[in-house]
Amino acid sequence: MNINKSNPLLLHPLNKWMKKKKWSWFPHQIETFHHVRTGSDVVVFAPTGAGKTLTGFINPIDDLIKLKKFKGLHTLYISPLKSLANDIVRNLEKPIKELDLNISFQVRTGDITPYKKQKQKQNPPNIIITTPESLALLNSYENAKEFFHNLKYIIIDEIHTFLDNKRADLLSLNIERLQTFSPNLQRIGLSATLKNKQDAKKWLCRKKPKIISYENSVLPKIKILETKERIPWSGHMATYSINEIYKEIMKSKLTIIFVNTRAQAEYMFKNLWLINKKKLKIAVHHGSLEKNLRLKVENNLSKGLVDCVVATSSLELGLDYGDVEKIIQVGAPKGINRLLQRVGRSNHNLNTPSKAILIPTNRFEFIEAKAAIEEIKNNNLDKIDLKEGSFDVVAQHIFATACSGQFDISDLYKEIIKAYPYKKLKLNDFKQLINLIQDGGYVLKNYDQFKRIFQLRENKNIYKLVNRRETRKYRMNVGTIIENPMLRIKLGTKTLGNIEEVFIQNLSQGDSFIFAGQVLEFQSMKNNLVQVKRSKSLISKIPSYSGGRMPLSTNLANSVRTLLAKSNMRDLYPDQITEWLKRQKNISKIPKKDEYLVEQFPRKKNFYTVIYTFAGWHANQTLGFLLLRGFKEFNYKPLGFVANDYAIVLWSLKEVKEIKKILNIGLLDKHLDNYLEETSIVKRLFRDNAIISCLIERRLPGMEKTGKQVLFSSDLIYTVLKKNEPDHILLKSSYEDAKKNMIDYNRLREILKKIDKKIILKKLTSISPLAVPIILEINRENLSKKETDEYILEDLENEILKEANVLSIN
């Protein structure tokens, strides 16, 4: 009896199955069972391999067995990926089938047929495994309340991936909706280890909130590749190490090579094939590849039929590939959580360490890799910054609510502000969002006769959908993930995947490029299909994918600074890196942990200013633009700038004499608005906002708008709105999004607040060793889109005029 008291799970229906498998319960599973049983909402933090999925289902299964033949929906399981949802079903199936438990469960994602969905709605299983988007859809149906009124648990898997983006906002609103339908609902979150566990708790839990945590004591073994080659100053492709990477693949049974961008994946894959003398089975995996191709690679991976897969973050989450022996990370880790997530893909056994090798592609990345390894040893993880929820998601949620039936706006408002991201949502903003859904929310009342929702005459608080046809429009536009305009690539009749429209526009017939590991020749483009054929060409382009760039995390940036300031370089770095840093020390300075080094020197005919901020590239990019304006104001005649994760370089015609007067907090207040105005950042985010808030449709029933058309009309709308109604809620929303995501406003603000007292200014006669990498990156023009357009037109015209003159002289 005593034993049962200390571990109540020994009486659990699954205990027999655990015993048969010779598994024992983890402490966090026992704790979860206890706390959930006594009415707590919980978040469970545990590493991969610690039975996380099962942990979520312990209480639901116990309840369902006790309730005997419970009819209807009891538990909802939310997974971040469709593919993971299928995997969960397979994992759940094993114990339930083997123990012959009377519990029904089904997956519900965009991949299942409308017929199945319909059946599911009429006769729901006990457990549904789904995604945030499918949940939003379920909540928009007219019978949502009856469907969910007996719901007992909602389990959110991989909750750490949901905390800081618009999907999180959407999910949080829908959880509150469910809580209204079923007040007894309990919440269970499952997460990888996090630094700010309290934040995750605040985000999810309402009833007797509880954190349950299980830390793995076995640390992963991570090292940096010991290379005989020269590590380049600059660049991101790791070409120097390709032979050594190949040797590492040969040493292990199964290797995953993680890279940071899709372009790097294609490039790495191609280079490995060029030296693949042993005929190793190497595959490539990234998010733009056709689903079938990806599934094939994943299948081969789990069956151990390949030797190596080159992958992007597309393979970071979920599926258990038990046989992966080694992870190779090519390029900077960028964040500690991210590196841990990737390293954890190898060796799912908790008692043996995962193995990983880091390949820095340039010298700064070497320091970053080294710093990341240190922090993993110290268990110093990145913080996930919770953000205030976005307005456009609320608008979409209002539309969804209207689709499910008439609603009272004060009830809805009260419900929404229970969701953590919307605690501070102002009633006035909420009302504007109601108006946005009603008729666009414009000051000029032109659309009175064409409303989408309307107030009841007898009760002004109640709103109702004008006609049921609108529900279809909502359903075609649900979700918060907006992709760049993409085109499908066809080789013969086979679809290979999607490619950015912008890349294809720059190709002419006959040009070759690499995709899905093959060299392809561009033939034609018709109706959003890009027809290609195989090519033997050796010169080929690599598609660029925008948006794939992750900024260096604040936490890792700090440890890079700490590491850099250490004087025992010989113990830390190979000779080539030590030499580089020593020379920097002699010629200029290596900044201390809290110092901001600024170097200035003449080069060719211009004057250069390099500022080492280690602020990540979003913040540095913004700072560069602001400084450009500051320099202009002081009449230093700036010509351009380039930013990366670590530093910014600006070049100007005149010597910049008073950098301290410019580089301070005043810069942000003075120039930020102008900057946002001039670059296309807000305009681009406006497009996402207009689509998410259902102001413009991404898809119309029966026809798919091409990305180009959506982009085009949203640009026009933005321009008209900006001019006539600068206070419109969607403009405000886009501006807030820019501040939150694109320009790293808070991070920049923190740095600028204290920077003026910590600037170390070095006037040099020529370029310093530390500045070489960023100087090498100077190759792009830094003109705003508007300027670029005019520049291209003018330049082209001049060229043609020149040509014409030559002809007439001849």
Binding site: D439, G440, G441, Y442, L444, N446, Y447, F450, R452, V466, E470, K473, V502, Q505, N506, S508, L695, I696, E697, Q709, F712, S713, L716, I717, T719, V720, L721, K723, N724, E725, H728, K786, T788, D789, E790, I792, L793, E794, D795, L796, E797, I800
Partner: protein
């Protein structure tokens, strides 16, 4: 206003960056595809575009009329987006239009969008002939030089690795197509089948419209 001189059918025309065309010899201003009230007609399908297009289009037109003071204004079709568009013309708009009509003849050639709509004071035509020129919305079989609209031409320019699309004036030897004067109107690639069928692919004169200038390719 900065303009681009275009020779077409042995006459000189001025192309303005606001997408209007001026025939100086006859003091005639030509515009096309204004699609006034597009926003309101989208609103009936619950696509709530900003309702400021009518105001902005009319303002732009009035600026041109003030500056040029033409004897004739020829609209080569699709002045209105559809029958709902008249809802977006307020009393004040009608008053303003009447005032301009005192000095300028408003010649409205009907397009596919506004075939059956009437507005007081406008003279309606299916097409309109001056000298050896025919003004029509969609080109027809004729030995005359034609000035028309309908297609909203834009040109794709690939230069130094960058691709941009620009609204354009375009003509071949016999047919001139104006860009759309509207503000929520999209465009059609000059290389598309629809425009090629009319203009052919060779010997096109293309004039992309920039911020404050009309360029020549």
């Amino acid at each position: 206003m900065y303009y681009q001189l275009i020779n077409f059918g042995d006459e000189e025309f001025y192309a303005y960056p606001n997408k209007s065309l001026y025939w100086k010899r006859l003091n005639t201003l030509i515009v096309s595809d204004l699609h006034i009230g597009k926003s309101i007609s989208y609103a009936k399908n619950k696509q709530f575009l900003p309702p400021y297009d009518t105001k902005e289009i009319l303002n732009e037109l009035f600026v041109s009329l003030d500056e040029i003071k033409p004897s004739n204004l020829i609209i080569v079709g699709d002045l209105l987006h559809d029958i709902f568009s008249t809802l977006s013309l307020k009393d004040q708009d009608h008053k303003n239009i009447s005032q301009y009509m005192e000095n300028t003849d408003f010649i409205w050639i009907k397009g596919n969008h506004d075939k059956n709509i009437q507005i007081e004071g406008f003279k309606n035509f299916t097409n309109y002939e001056i000298d050896k020129f025919l003004f029509t919305h969609i080109p027809i079989e004729t030995p005359l030089f034609q000035i028309c609209g309908h297609y909203h031409p834009k040109v794709k320019i690939v230069h130094r690795g960058k691709t941009i699309f620009k609204t354009s004036f375009v003509h071949n030897e016999k047919i001139f197509i104006l860009p759309s004067f509207g503000i929520l109107t999209g465009g059609l690639d000059i290389n598309s089948k629809e425009i090629s069928d009319v203009l052919g692919k060779k010997n096109l004169n293309i004039y992309p419209v920039g911020q404050d200038k009309v360029y020549k390719l």
